[in-house]
């Protein structure tokens, strides 16, 4: 087939890739062809008839959304019949459309309004009354106004094809055709709100935003969602220092238009009544409000009292620090620097939800072994790569609920590009519906499956037999899975917390046996888990996965930080907590984390000087001696790194009065400790990160423009070894988000959150 075909549109010669739809060819050339039902990536409908154009030799007008370009095609998009067709379609649509634009949420950003503005049908010739149907509430966040609906079927398709939820459908016939929810009068779905966002008119409106604002009063701030590890860009609609809604209307960023319930609605924890607005200090057993000055002075003076803190011994160290997996890279970098330089400890850790150190180590080792291989380092997959992959191997995790964007991309690949999805899983996860091959197993057998795939003898027997869900695993089914997978080229391997430690090395070894260029994606919870690991919130690793025991690496940081660093790895979070229980830790500083979530806070109270810096008075904060109220991601600038390693920039949308940013608090504490923590501004800290942290020296232009850059901190020298520490996902799903999720009204009012059940065993 030729590389391009020549077509003529409105007298202009265009060269277009064969197979391109005419509407796309026109639009790419800047020739406007309107449409309602045509939507890139969703199935073709040819229903709205807005894109009718003249094609020479065709007996009548043709829908440009269904006609692929052909050599020599001559097209006219602005002739009187075309103009009249558009006008008449709009006249038909407006016949029943209530012209309540002044009170419609969509007014000002409505595609129908825009089209009428451009193509006419401004006067009504109909005498009969319009259809009237009362508005329906389908869920706490989805409202439907039937007469406004123009039946473009975008919502039905995005829910069915895009989300694989199929919660919307069309009922009745002819003029009575109507969009309907899956449970009679209400929806039971993922409540993602994609249907609202994709609606060209105001038929589907958001329970969170309706009747709140006119679009032209709004200030739009694009930032990164603070919930799961996927790092979707969400555009916050802000008016008068209040966030009114979240969406991604400009379709930019790694997620395009995609957002789940959290990205779209769960910013609402920010003004929760229980949000901490003043520092708290414990006086006579009670936490009482105090001033920032008082709180900072108290922490510093207590810390200064802890004896000999620069000379800790391993048996009874002075300090422990537990950082966050949703504060910014700048916060995390500064925190570990604060710990290592000012507090003088390597006892720093965070809740690890994916074994990034093991992955980076295994990939570094592989790169080291194959030095000079082209493409060697580009072995981490970006999220969009999934939508274009030839094959994907998914081991563990349930991306549909834990990583909605990852799942969205996987489905897109399977749907539009024939991606073959291989799944190794112990549960009947929703993505099985897209799978090409499935290897069911009992929970905990993932490593056996990997070893089997890697060709280790004696593993097959462990996998054979019947799964709890009654599936029979035979030698033939195993062999079929292995043979198919091993024949795949350019596979992306996606794995959850089922694969950690040495198993990650095994995974990379197995992946290296696959033909082509295998890429990896470790799935972690929360918006900056990956950044926390990259920035060295780890007891044994400096930023960029440099071993603390490596003198060369250490000296590089010592030189920059102008301070001597301890060479000995510190304690893990679990070890720190154990030390508190035994009375062996002088003080624990917890930033943006809730390590006592599943523990009894009383067991820890009074056994150490506990300082907690966070948004809410969660379990750990309740055990604290001092609580410092912190700003959240929507209240600060900085960068975060998603589960794939994509680095993106946060923009400050608003500010709740009282809390301060983590970086600012570190600075105050350092000063009160008679020390300096420089640099102190997020952009300056980021510059230091770019200079010092492996993989972060990325170009700035894309980042500043709101796009993502891939951080690839693979230095090729890290030796793979068993690392201490626990790695486990919180198993948050679509309607939970750690501590923050508890304070999101939306996540708590949608009924699906209460009825959510994890998938059955397979």
């Amino acid at each position: 087939m030729a590389d391009s075909v020549n077509i003529t549109v409105d007298g202009r010669s265009l060269q277009v890739r064969p197979g391109t739809l005419l509407i796309e060819a026109c639009r790419a050339a800047g020739i406007e062809v309107p449409s309602f039902c045509y939507y890139p990536g969703l199935s073709l409908q040819a229903a709205c008839r807005m894109c009718l154009v003249e094609i020479e030799k065709a007996p009548k007008l043709q829908t440009s959304c269904t006609v692929p370009v052909a050599e020599g095609m001559v097209v006219r998009t602005a002739t009187p019949p075309v103009v009249e067709a558009r006008r008449s379609m709009l006249e038909f649509l407006l016949g029943n459309h209530p012209l309540d634009c002044p009170v419609c949420d969509k007014g000002g950003e409505c595609e129908l309004q825009d089209m009428v503005f451009r193509y006419g049908a401004a006067e009504s010739r109909f005498a009969e009354e319009k259809r009237h149907i009362p508005e329906q509430q389908w869920s706490p966040v989805v409202y439907f106004d039937a007469p406004r609906c123009i039946l473009c079927y975008r919502c039905v398709r995005v829910c069915g094809e895009g989300l694989d939820v199929h919660a919307l459908g069309i009922v009745n016939r002819g003029g009575h055709s109507e969009n309907a929810p899956n449970h009679g009068d209400h929806l039971e779905c993922e409540e993602c709100g994609m249907c609202i966002d994709i609606c060209p008119v105001g038929a589907l409106t958001s329970g969170a935003y309706r009747y709140k604002a006119r679009p032209w009063e709004i200030n739009y701030v694009s930032t990164i969602c603070t919930h799961c590890g996927d790092g979707c860009k969400t555009t916050l609609s802000v008016r008068n220092n209040t966030i009114l809604r979240g969406n991604n209307r400009d379709h930019s960023g790694i997620n395009g238009e995609f957002l789940c319930i959290k990205g779209r609605y769960a910013y609402d924890f920010i003004e929760h009544p229980e949000r901490l607005r003043h520092p708290l200090v414990r006086k006579t057993g009670q936490l009482v409000e105090t001033s920032w000055e008082e709180a900072i002075r108290m922490v510093a003076s207590r810390w200064k009292e802890i004896p000999d803190h620069q000379n800790e011994s391993a048996s009874s160290p002075a300090f422990g620090v537990i950082g966050s997996n949703h504060t910014t890279n700048e916060d995390n970098y500064a925190l570990q620097k604060f710990a290592r330089v000012i507090l003088g400890t390597n006892n720093i850790d965070h809740h690890r939800t994916a074994d990034f150190p093991a992955l980076i180590a295994a990939l570094s080792a592989q790169q080291h072994a194959a030095a000079g291989v082209p493409d060697g380092p580009a072995c981490l997959a970006r999220s969009r790569d999934l939508a274009h992959a030839a094959a994907i191997l998914l081991i563990g995790n349930n991306p549909t609920v834990q990583h909605p964007l990852i799942a969205w991309n996987i489905r897109e690949g399977c749907r539009l590009r024939g991606t073959r999805l291989y799944v190794i899983h112990s549960q009947q996860i929703p993505l099985l519906r897209q799978s090409f091959r499935f290897l069911p197993l009992r929970a905990g057998q993932e490593v056996d499956a990997l070893a089997y795939l890697a060709g280790e003898l004696g593993r097959e027997e462990k996998l054979l037999g019947r799964t709890p869900g009654g599936r029979e695993i035979t030698s033939e089914s195993l062999l079929d899975f292995r043979n198919r997978l091993l024949a795949e080229k350019d596979v992306i391997v996606v794995f959850g917390d089922e694969i950690t430690g040495q198993a990650v090395s095994l995974l990379v070894r197995m992946g290296s046996q696959l033909p082509g260029h295998t890429r990896y994606l470790g799935l972690s919870d929360y918006s900056n888990s990956r950044g926390a690991a990259d920035m060295g919130l780890l007891p044994h690793l400096l930023p960029g996965y440099c071993a603390i025991t490596d003198p060369l690496a250490r000296s590089r940081f010592e030189e920059q930080w102008k301070s001597k660093l301890l060479a000995q790895p510190g304690w893990t979070a679990e070890e720190m907590l154990a030390a508190i229980r035994d009375g062996r830790l002088g003080s624990l500083y917890v930033v943006g984390a809730n390590p006592l979530k599943k523990q009894d806070p009383l067991e820890y109270r009074g056994k150490t000087f506990l300082v907690v810096q966070d948004l809410f008075l969660h379990e750990t904060a309740q055990a604290a001696d001092v609580v410092l109220p912190a700003a959240c991601a929507y209240e600060k600038t900085g960068t975060v790194t998603n589960t794939c390693g994509e680095l993106q920039r946060l923009r400050k949308a608003m500010q709740v009065l009282g809390p301060r940013s983590d970086l600012e608090i570190f600075g105050h504490l350092a000063k009160a400790m008679d020390a300096q923590l420089q640099p102190s501004r997020p952009d300056e800290v980021f510059e230091e990160i770019r200079q010092l942290v492996s993989g972060y020296n990325v170009p700035l232009s894309q980042l500043m423009a709101g796009e993502a850059e891939l951080a690839m901190p693979i230095n090729g020298f890290l030796s793979p070894s068993e690392f201490p520490g626990n790695v486990s996902s919180s198993q948050d799903h679509l309607f939970t988000s750690g501590t923050l999720g508890r304070y999101s009204q939306t996540l708590n009012i949608v009924p699906e959150g209460k009825t959510y059940k994890p998938p059955d065993p397979c």
């Binding site: 040819a46 229903a47 008839r49 009969e128 016939r173 055709s177």
Partner: protein, 603 residues
Amino acid sequence: MSAQFTLKLEEKFSTLLSRYPVKRSVLVPMLLFAQDEYGFLNQEIVAEIARRLGLTVLDVEGVISYYSMLRKKPAGRYHLQICTNISCMLRGANSLFEHAQQKLGVGPGEATPDGLFSLEEVECIGACSWAPALQANYDFYHAVTLERFDQLLSDLPAGRAVPDTPPMSHTEHEVQVLTRRFDLPNAASIDTYLAHDGYRALEKALRQMTPDSVIEEVKQSNLRGRGGAGFPAGMKWSFVPKQSSKPKYIVCNADESEPGTCKDRLLMQNDPHQLIEGILLAGFAVSAHQGYIYVRGEYRYLIEILDRALEEAYARGYLGKNILGTGFDFDLATHTGAGAYECGEESALLESLEGKRGIPRIRPPFPAVVGLYGGPTVLNNVETFCSVPSIILNGGQWYASLGTPRNGGTRLFVLSGHVNRPGVYELPMGFPLRKMIEEVGGGIVGGKQFKAVIPGGSSTPVLTADALDTPMDFDSVAKAGSMLGSGAVIVMHEDTCMVEAALRIMKFYAHESCGWCIPCREGTSWLKKTLDRFHSGGGRREDIRLIEELAKNMLGKTFCPLGDAAAMPTISIVQKFRDEFEQHLTGQACPLEGRLELELASE
């Protein structure tokens, strides 16, 4: 919240499941059979069917609410469905329907308090030549006068009512090809069929011909599609790719629903084996091994006739494996629709056959390349398939010579409306329209003046007296500014209000529009509303232009031909009878109000 199937339903379900390669295909028949069993589709049975087919309830609800025969609330024991579409309207159906409402004391869609009767105004049920007609459940009653209606109300519960079987009409001008066995005793049985050339064409094809030579013969015959579009059948078959990775299918369109048309009904009723043989020949011609006859849901008695014939054909080895020992395999089954004109459109029919809402598909690809279950599919009308055995037996040349150039053979013309002898007649292609009305149809009833004729079913533009000399073949009628369509000739005399005719036609298309595309969904319903107001005296002068323009704005711009079908008669009526529209502008009721109703009383 799901129900158990009755034993009968359970059997039906497993029989149906064995018929299709895709489970979902059983959905529409299953819903209709379940409704027959339970009276209506309750939530439990819907949930059970959805569960068994692996569908969501929403998906099933979408299908139920698409098909007009499926209902979610109980009907009376005798569900009386009175057709008021154009042919029945011309014979007084409106007053029949009004009478029925008064007599039963219920409105449309309601049931009598004792649950005995329910009443519904329905669209064309395929009894146009025997109008006005009604169906009590699945039984047809023809030429229902007010007296006969009253009689039915007592006969039905008493078990004394005898349903009508439509007769074939004869004329000295007829040329019997398709209908030559109709008057034989036991015409529908395989023995009668075999005794009169039955399956000889199949034998000839299987033993002496190649698939290509069968197609060639059909091309030679100038057989053009009898469903309405008149596409050359042989050419359609030749579009089917020889090699296909997916199975090929033959689908017979027996969804006869074009208002004015009731001819396929006679072909299936009187000679089902002729249809089966025609489908088998098409199967051989394109190397397909599975076929379906999609029968409109209202024609339940015909499905029973066809099923008996299929059973006979299987028993005698004309269907199944290794037919006549030639190694040719072919399976054929009936499939019931559930009330949707749109499913007569070939791609919508395929969707419906796959168990979905009858929404047309984007074309290309055409069904010949990507059809049923994605496989290459030949779709033809009943009459088209029925014509094939004679073509193979007597040769394409012979068949072609019966008609006019490029319009081979005979066809069944359906005469309805204001003629003295309405009926279904087999006449050669090209038979003059005037002769058809005056000699075959016996002229206009009551010696009244001819006003207009719809020559090919309600979707074709009306013709007036100046076009009466048109020969009735596809090309000549097209030249006269209309279409031969389904061969349904609807004659209207001087008492017919053309505004009302336009309204009744538009009401039908608004009812049947699938709703998929904007111009058809909105256009038909706005035109219906506007015409309704206009006809009842509320018209504005600018509405005449509006009606014409709205129709033109639909024409050629809709997703499927239904929009054109609604637009064309409207445009022609406005253009040819503008004076009648202007007469309606007095603010008074229609000047011809009540005139058609007198017709019925005078009979």
